[in-house]
Amino acid sequence: MMYSYYPGCTLKTKAQDLERFALISAQVLGIELAEQQDWQCCGAVYPLAEDEIAGKLSAVRSLAAAHSKGEKLITLCAACHHVIKRVNADMYSNEFVRKRVNNYLQLPKNYNGEAKVLHYLELLRDDVGFSKLAEQVRMPLTGRKIGAYYGCLLLRPSNVMNFDDAENPSILEDFITALGATAVKYPFRTECCGGYLTVNDQEANEMAANIINSAIGLEVEEILTACPLCKYNLEKELGTNTKVRIVYFTELLAEALAIK
């Protein structure tokens, strides 16, 4: 099946692993990801103010491009996914935004939020299926205790993101189980890592510390994430501590598919 694929800036620089493993895994799984031409930065954060239109334009360009090709738009970075999905919801249901964005962009055809945005994980769950994925695993990660870290951006607000149960999600655990590893649910797995606060406050990040301690408390050896920013914050807090390591979910995927 053919999909439009939106990478985002960080995946081309500091988070190349996240993308690299996703792309080679997709090949093995028979998923065709065509990187969008001329994609632009999504803006990194979804503009929350009602009157901010400019910050939503680049997301709409990608959405409209995917829609015009009749393809689903696949995202990989949690932040890009959040922005694009929420902008799409605005284009679908918020007339104020829809009108202004279309007026500004003057696309060949007005865009009204018709495209379907899927995170790579949703693609694995809904279009591939975790049971099918499990069949493709060639090097099961048997015995490894892996804790999923969801963070904020994939889950909330759940009425827009519609990703999983925001308070008690299971998609990442199901993913880990499909790869043959042991999924450990630890209490802080949906708490915030501190996000961009790191530019404001360089002091100790107790938010990230809570997450790490909660995972270590349940003997988690690897923490799985889909977000470069989460990975950065958690690793920074971890410092030289080697009790646990932070990995992108795609890295484990490639490992289990024996293509890493």
């Binding site: 960080t10 500091k14 990194a44 954060v45 904020c152 915030c192 950065y232």
Partner: protein, 136 residues
């Protein structure tokens, strides 16, 4: 400490602005405090989210403008997700931030600050979002 408070009316325009750009009806709040109770960043806040809404209801915007809380909100949307009254608190706090940084020279994070915080691992996503949240 001044114990007697007079609800000021000269802040009405700022209050109105916050209401407009957030699209939030602050009168829906019943002060259940669930936002504050679940806030992962509350340890670094001098005024808790439910108190911010209460102060807005009372027109005490000045107190909020001088608080650390609005800069320490990580926009993690836990408050919005759990609010039993469907108040989008994350949006409200963003609106308060914008009310300040949209004024000339009030940006919180400036290009000059970058060298001081950057390290070789930092994804540029951090910087972009930092500028989006703290700079106009």
């Amino acid at each position: 400490m001044i114990r007697v408070k007079i609800t000021p009316n000269n802040k009405q325009s700022q209050l109105q602005y916050i209401r407009e750009i957030s699209g939030v009806n602050i009168n829906k709040c019943i002060q259940c405090t669930k936002c504050s109770a679940g806030c992962p960043a509350s340890a670094r806040m001098d005024i808790l989210p439910h108190e911010i809404i209460r102060l807005l209801q009372l027109g005490q915007v000045e107190k909020i403008f001088h608080s650390k809380s609005i800069w320490n909100c990580a926009s993690c949307f836990v408050c919005t997700e759990r609010c039993p009254r469907n108040i989008d608190i994350a949006r409200l706090i963003e609106a308060i931030r914008l009310t300040i940084i949209r004024q000339p020279g009030k940006s919180k994070f400036k290009p000059d600050d970058v060298p001081g915080i950057i390290d070789d691992k930092m994804p540029q996503q951090v910087l972009v979002s930092g500028f989006r949240k703290y700079n106009r």
